[in-house]
């Protein structure tokens, strides 16, 4: 069996970041990626927050193919037949380093893998890793097709459906409540139209999240990100709620119906759909994290269960990048000791615990259970929209009277036992 120092399975953000960190170590690093090129299998929303990762990989991002830096944040609550949008603009969004950028993974990961290759890492595409090779319980290599390759350390960077962590016995079988499905369209529009429609300066971007009737009470929401010359428009829906929420509806139809809403229709008017994609994302939070290491192997990024769905932001890419770097650092130190045992690799968990990743995941540990409350996706968005609509509505009848009766109705809806319990739960965040 041929042997290298480190095999990284998966050339996504987590795997490539780990490879980058290791590229100056003198070790032989092999990245095996199943797609035709890095990024060709990957889907995100998506927006990357730059500030959390600058400390870990400061130089890398200068030439990165970002789409737009986000200067406008919108949250839209959708009711049946109405919606309310909150919009945030801040001067701080204009200060460099810009806080966040939109991106497209097929472009972004490909660029990153070229960068990593230039640093001497072997990134081999079209290689699906099929199995782990173990000896006396420790992981010593991988099998791809009929080839076997050995390494001192294997990094599982194989994404949300990490079959490798399952094969290593590090995680329990996949369950619906741990995942949401995201699916989206790329809609091409020229950059002037995008900037005019969203009220953006040149190169600036908008991020818009939607909660409410669009998911028909299902856990989840919608997202719209502006790219340079396209929009990323999609939905994220929890699989557990998809399985059980009545009336049942094929999930893909929800996106078509969403696009028919005037709020969306006018934003995408004249645009041409150029791609349709789907991918899973982590929903379970810290409770479903697998064990992060074993003898000869580490998990990074989505494979390690590092992700947070906080309704208005999905976090995963920064976690993937920084966990990759921390795994790289751990491997360098393990190499100095020439010890890749679980005890030696446990340093990785310590580093993760000290980093913002696990601190955030702990802070937001109650979010997944909160999100399983269907009222968050139906009653409350509807209430916000109705309240606003009533405020703005002028009718034949004198306004005062309607106003009074509506306030009474609102009190009834808000000041009851159920809402009180929800409020207690929301306070935990």
């Amino acid at each position: 069996m041929e042997k290298v120092d480190v095999i990284i399975v998966g050339g996504g953000l987590a795997g490539l970041s780990c490879a980058y960190e290791l590229s100056d170590s003198g070790m032989t690093i092999l990245v095996l990626e199943r797609g035709d090129f890095s990024g060709s299998k990957n889907v995100t929303g998506g927006r990357l927050y730059l500030r959390p990762i600058l400390k870990y990989l400061p130089e890398v991002w200068k030439g990165a193919p970002f789409e737009r830096h986000v200067t406008k944040e919108r949250i839209t609550f959708m009711g049946k037949g109405n919606s309310t949008t909150f919009e945030l603009y801040s001067d701080r969004f204009q200060e460099e380093p810009y806080p966040s950028y939109t991106l497209l993974r097929a472009k972004f990961d490909r660029w990153f893998s070229d960068l990593v290759s230039e640093k001497g890492v072997f990134v081999i595409p079209q290689k699906r890793v099929d199995d782990l090779i173990k000896e006396d319980g420790r992981v010593i290599g991988v099998r791809t097709g009929d080839e076997e390759i050995g390494a001192d350390c294997i990094v599982a960077a194989d994404g949300i459906l990490s079959f490798l962590s399952e094969k290593a016995g590090l995680r329990s079988p996949f369950q619906p409540e741990q995942f949401a499905v995201g699916f989206k369209e790329i809609i091409q529009l020229d950059s002037r139209t995008i900037e005019d429609r969203f009220g953006l300066g040149e190169g600036e971007g908008a991020a818009q999240l939607f909660i409410g009737s669009l998911t028909r009470g299902r856990m989840g929401g919608g997202f719209l990100y502006t790219n340079r010359e396209s929009l990323s428009l999609g939905l994220v829906i929890g699989i557990e709620s998809l399985n059980h929420m009545e009336p049942r509806e094929e999930v893909y139809r929800l996106l078509d119906e969403f696009k028919e809403r005037p709020e969306i229709k006018n934003l995408i008017k004249g645009g041409e759909i150029v791609e349709y994609s789907a991918h899973l994302l982590a929903e379970g939070g810290i409770h479903y994290m697998p064990k992060l290491y074993t003898d000869g192997m580490l998990l990074v990024g989505d494979a390690a269960g590092l992700g947070l769905n906080m309704l208005v932001t999905v976090r995963g890419m920064e976690y993937a990048i920084v966990s990759g770097v921390l795994a790289g650092r751990t491997i360098k130190r393990a190499k100095e000791r020439n010890d890749f045992s679980a005890a030696s690799l446990s340093e990785y968990e310590r580093l993760l615990n000290e980093s913002f990743i696990l601190q955030e995941m702990k802070s937001f540990q109650h979010v997944p259970s909160l999100l399983s409350n269907p009222r968050l996706f139906s009653k409350y968005p509807q209430l916000i929209c109705d309240l606003f609509e009533k405020l703005m509505w002028v009718d034949e009848e004198p306004k005062g009277r309607i106003y009074q009766s509506k306030i009474e109705e609102l009190k009834r809806q808000l000041f009851n036992w159920e809402t009180f319990k929800d409020w207690l739960q929301f306070r935990k965040i």
């Binding site: 497209l104 097929a106 990961d109 699906r128 998809l242 049942r248 999930v251 893909y252 791609e275 349709y276």
Partner: protein, 90 residues
């Protein structure tokens, strides 16, 4: 736009053999048909003999069907390297 037309926009390189296999014995007794509702590409349907079938050629490789089917009927793997969907935007 119909879902089939949307899928036609994506670049696929299809293997001869499916990367998704269903256990007909399990599907026969299933009443909820989670797969039909969960697949964002609408690839699951019942054939004329009442068997569940999946059209693997348009698969977006999300794995949703495998996770949604709590009865364990969906035996799922990524397509071999070289095959399957190839995103140009992602």
């Amino acid at each position: 736009m119909k879902i089939t037309e949307k899928l036609a926009l994506d670049a696929f390189k299809n293997d001869k053999e499916s990367h998704i296999k269903l256990n007909q014995e399990i599907c026969r007794t299933c009443r909820e048909r989670f797969c039909i509702y969960a697949c964002p590409a609408n690839l699951y349907s019942l054939n004329e003999r009442g068997e569940m079938v999946v059209e693997f050629a348009g698969c977006l490789e999300c794995g949703t069907c495998m996770v949604a089917c709590i009865y364990g009927s969906v035996q799922w793997n990524y397509p071999r390297g070289e095959y399957g969907v190839q995103y140009r935007y992602g």
